[in-house]
C-alpha cells in the first residue's frame, strides 16, 4: 500500500512559496501522440499499418519494415518490470524537488521496452498495468501501475503529480444556480476535497439549490457573478491564493438558432456568461493559481471548463449557444498555452444536452447531473485534459475525428 498523504497544515506565510517548475517540455511531433492519448486516458502506441509491429519510442518510420504508415492505436497495457532505479541526482529543476524518483524499464506484452515512472506499489520484477499520464509539462509519459488497485494508491507521490485529484484540495465551483451544482459539490466532497467554495450570483435572489449545496460538509457560499468584472476580481482577491481547482459551471443557455431569433439579446447573454465569463475568471484567478502550482500537498492543479459538445460542431437547434461554447473552447486552448509553463492543467468536460429545464424539448439521451459530476471528478483524479461525458458527446467527437466536414453536413442537413 501507499503511505496516505496527511492533510496539509496551515501555510507558513514567511516561507517563500516554491517556484513553479515543469519537467522537460520538448518533444518531437511524433511523441505528441502520447500527450493526445494521455489527454483522454488511453493507452495508445504507434502500430505499423503494413507489418503490425508496435513502435516505441514514437517515430516516423517502422523499425521493422521501414513503412511510414504508422497509426496510433489502443494496445494492451500489460507488461513486466524488468529493471528499476531510484534517480537521486539530476540537473533538472523540477525533478530536483521530487527526488528520489523511481524509474524502471518495462517490457510490454505488445513488444517494445519502455522507460517509465513506476508506482511505489509495483513489486520488484512484477507484472504491471501501464498508463500514459499527463505530467506537469502537459506531456504524455509512461507510468507502470500495480495490476490491481492497492490501498491509498492515488497517494503515491509520482501518481499524485500526474493527477489533479480533489483530495486534500480547495475547490471553487463558480455557479450555485446551475442545476448541476449540488451534484458537482457532492462528488468533489466524496473525492476528498478539503474545502469547496461555491459562487452565488445576485445573492438577494432565492436559489432553489442552496439547501442541497449547503448540506455538503466543507462548503462555503460566496458572492460571484461571472458577468461582473468587479465581482470576479473581488472574489479572486479573497480566494485566488487558496483556489487549488476551479470548476467553471456557469452557463447561460437558451434554445434557438440564428434565424429563430431576430435580435442579439440572448446571444449577448450567452457570450457574456459562456465566453466572457470564462475570460473574466481566467484573467482574475489564472495568475494566482499559476503562481501556486508547486505549493505542496494542496498546490493549485487544475481548471475545469464544462463545455457543450456542440462546441465541436454547431447544433442548429441551439445554434447561438453552440457558437458561444465554440468561443469558450477556443479560449480554453489559449488558457492551456498561457498556463503551460506553470503546469496548471485545463480540463475540458464536453457534455451533450443535460437533463434540465432548458433542454426539455430534446429527446433522450440527456446527461443527468450526477453523471456529469462523476465524469468531471474522475477526469480530475485521472489527470485528463479532455472528457467526453455521455453518449452525445462521445458520438460528437467520434464523428469529428472521422471527418469534420461530414459531421458538419450531418449536423446541418436535416432540421427537424
Amino acid at each position: 500500500m501507499s503511505e496516505p498523504i496527511a492533510p496539509p497544515g496551515k501555510k507558513n506565510p514567511q516561507r517563500r512559496t516554491d517556484v513553479p517548475q515543469t519537467p522537460p517540455q520538448q518533444r518531437s511531433r511524433a511523441a505528441l501522440g502520447l500527450a493526445a492519448a494521455a489527454a483522454e486516458g488511453r493507452f495508445m502506441l504507434q502500430v505499423c499499418g503494413d507489418c503490425g509491429a508496435v513502435q516505441y519510442p514514437p517515430r516516423d518510420a517502422c523499425s521493422r519494415c521501414l513503412s511510414i504508415n504508422l497509426q496510433w492505436q489502443d494496445v494492451s497495457p500489460g507488461g513486466r518490470l524488468v529493471a528499476e532505479t531510484r534517480v537521486r541526482a539530476t540537473t533538472d529543476l523540477y525533478f530536483r524537488k521530487q527526488m528520489p524518483v523511481r524509474v524502471g524499464t518495462v517490457k510490454l506484452d505488445v513488444g517494445p521496452s519502455v522507460i517509465c515512472h513506476v508506482h511505489g506499489d509495483v513489486g520488484d520484477g512484477a507484472d504491471v498495468r501501464m498508463a500514459i499520464k499527463l505530467d506537469r509539462a502537459g506531456q504524455g509519459v509512461m507510468m507502470a501501475l500495480p495490476v490491481k488497485e492497492t490501498p491509498f494508491m492515488e497517494d503515491d507521490p509520482r501518481l499524485r503529480e500526474m493527477s489533479c485529484t480533489p483530495r486534500h484540495r480547495r475547490v471553487l465551483v463558480t455557479d450555485a444556480r446551475n442545476p448541476n451544482a449540488p451534484a458537482i459539490v457532492s462528488a468533489l466532497a466524496a473525492a476528498g476535497a478539503e474545502k469547496i467554495f461555491v459562487g452565488l450570483s445576485e445573492d438577494w435572489r432565492p436559489n432553489r439549490h442552496n439547501d442541497d449545496i449547503m448540506a455538503v460538509p466543507g462548503v462555503e457560499m460566496l458572492p460571484l457573478d461571472v458577468t461582473d468584472s468587479k465581482s470576479v476580481e473581488e472574489l479572486a482577491a479573497e480566494l485566488g491564493g487558496k483556489t487549488d481547482i476551479l470548476v467553471n459551471n456557469a452557463r447561460y443557455v437558451r434554445p434557438g438558432g440564428l434565424m429563430a431569433r431576430n435580435d442579439t439579446v440572448f446571444a449577448q447573454n450567452e457570450m457574456d456568461v459562456n465566453y466572457l465569463g470564462l475570460m473574466r475568471l481566467a484573467q482574475a484567478f489564472g495568475p494566482a493559481m499559476c503562481a501556486r502550482t508547486a505549493d505542496g500537498t494542496n498546490a493549485a492543479v487544475a481548471w475545469v471548463n464544462i463545455l457543450s459538445a456542440y462546441a465541436i460542431s454547431n447544433s442548429p437547434d441551439y445554434g447561438c449557444f453552440s457558437a458561444s461554447n465554440a468561443a469558450a473552447l477556443s479560449l480554453s486552448q489559449n488558457m492551456r498555452a498561457d498556463f503551460r509553463t506553470s503546469g496548471l492543467r485545463v480540463l475540458n468536460v464536453f457534455v451533450g444536452p443535460t437533463d434540465d429545464d432548458w433542454h426539455q424539448e430534446l429527446p433522450p439521451p440527456k446527461v443527468p447531473a450526477n453523471t456529469l459530476a462523476r465524469s468531471l471528478v474522475q477526469g480530475l483524479v485521472d489527470g485528463l485534459e479532455d472528457v467526453y461525458c455521455g453518449d452525445v458527446a462521445k458520438d460528437m467527437i467520434e464523428r469529428f475525428r472521422a471527418s469534420p466536414k461530414i459531421q458538419e453536413r450531418e449536423m446541418t442537413g436535416f432540421r427537424s
Binding site: 519537467p23 522537460p24 520538448q26 518533444r27 518531437s28 511524433a30 511523441a31 516505441y56 519510442p57 514514437p58 523499425s63 524488468v82 529493471a83 528499476e84 532505479t85 531510484r86 534517480v87 537521486r88 541526482a89 539530476t90 540537473t91 533538472d92 523540477y94 525533478f95 521530487q98 528520489p100 524518483v101 524509474v103 524502471g104 524499464t105 517490457k107 521496452s113 519502455v114 522507460i115 517509465c116 515512472h117 520484477g125 505530467d135 509539462a137 506531456q139 509519459v141 509512461m142
Partner: protein, 391 residues
Amino acid sequence: MSRTRLGYEGVAIVSPATIPYQRFSIETAHWWIARALKESLDQAGLGPAEIDGFAVSSFTLFPDTAVGLTQHLGLCPRWLDHIPMGGASGIVALRRAARAVQAGDADIVACVAGDTNHIDSFRNLLSSFSRFSQDAAYPYGFGGPNANFALLMDRYMKDYGATREDFGRICVAQRQNALRNPNALMKKPLTLQQYLDARPISDPIALFDCVMPCAGSEAFLVMTVEEAQRRDLPFAVIAGTIERHNAYADDPVQFRGGWAMDIDELYHMADCAPSDIDLLQTYDDYPVISMMQFEDLGFCDKGEGSRFVQDRDLTIEGDFPHNTSGGQLSAGQAGAAGGYIGLVEAIRQVTAAAGPTQVPDASRAMVSGFGVINYDRGVCSGAAIIEGAKA
C-alpha cells in the same frame, strides 16, 4: 557469413597526443581541438598544410562541424569526416582513416576529438542529446546517462549475481593506475570501502561509478608505414578492427554490446586469442560497461565478469592491465575525447611511450569503444587490436 574483409596492412598510427584535462574551461571546443591537433603534428614534425585528411569528433562544437573547423584552423584536406559516435568515435575514426590511407584517398589523416566543459554545459548537452532521449528518457526523472546505466546495471546484477564490490574493484584499480598519470583529474586514492559508501546517484549507481565531465582533447595521426618510417616515428599497426551499431535491438534491457556479434572475426583478423592481449582499454563510462566488455570481447564468458574481476589484477602491474591511464572514471570524461582516451593511451603503450603508466613489454593492446545512449542503451560499439611495430 559475409565476404572476408581486407586487412589493414601498410597503415601506421603515430603521434598520440593528449591535452591535459580540466574540470571546467572557459575555452571552446575549437581551442581544445586546435591544441591536440598541433601537439600531434608537432610530434610528427608536420605543419597543418601537410595533412590531407581530417576526422573530428566533438559534442560542443555547435554550430560548427568538421567543415567549419577546416576554415577555422586553416586546413585544406582532400578527405574530411565528422564522427558523432561518442565513445566509439576513436575506433571509428581510426577505421575510416586507415581505409582512406590504404586506398590513397589521403596520405596523412589527423584524427582529433575534443570538448570543452563550461559551467552548465553538461546540462545543456544532455537536454539536446537525441530525439529518443528527449522524448522517452529525460521526462523520467532526468537522471541522464546515470539513470539509463542504473537500469541495465540493476538487471545485470539480478541476472548474474554481480555485486557492487565487483564493480568497485574495477574503479579502485583504475584509480591506482590514475595516480601514476600526472594528467588525471582524480588525485586521491580510492578504497573499496569508499566506493561502497559513496553517495547514491541512481541506484545501484553511486558517485564513484560515474565519470566526471571535463574539458580536454586527444589526437593521433594515421599514415602509411613507409611515411612513418621515413619520418622515423614510432608507430602502431592495426591487427584487426570491428564496429557494429544497434545490435541486439530486441534485448529488453542491454546486457551485451555489438562486439559479441563480431568478436570472433576480430581475433581471426588479428590471428591471436584473448590470452595474447597485453593490455585492454575498455570504454568505461560506468564499470558495468567495462565488465560487459570483458565478456563480449572474449576474456570471460557472459555472466562471468564478476568472477573475472575477482580473479584478475587490473592494475598496470597486474596480470590484466586495464585502462592504464585511469580511464574516464579517474582521468575524466572529456566529451567525445572520452572515445579517444583508451586508443591514444594504447598507441603510447605499444610504442613504449606511456611513461609512468607504461605496462612492461606491452606489444599488443585491445581497445574498445561504446557510444551514444540514443534512448535506453549504447548504440555504437567498436574494437581494435593494435600492435607495436617491429623495427
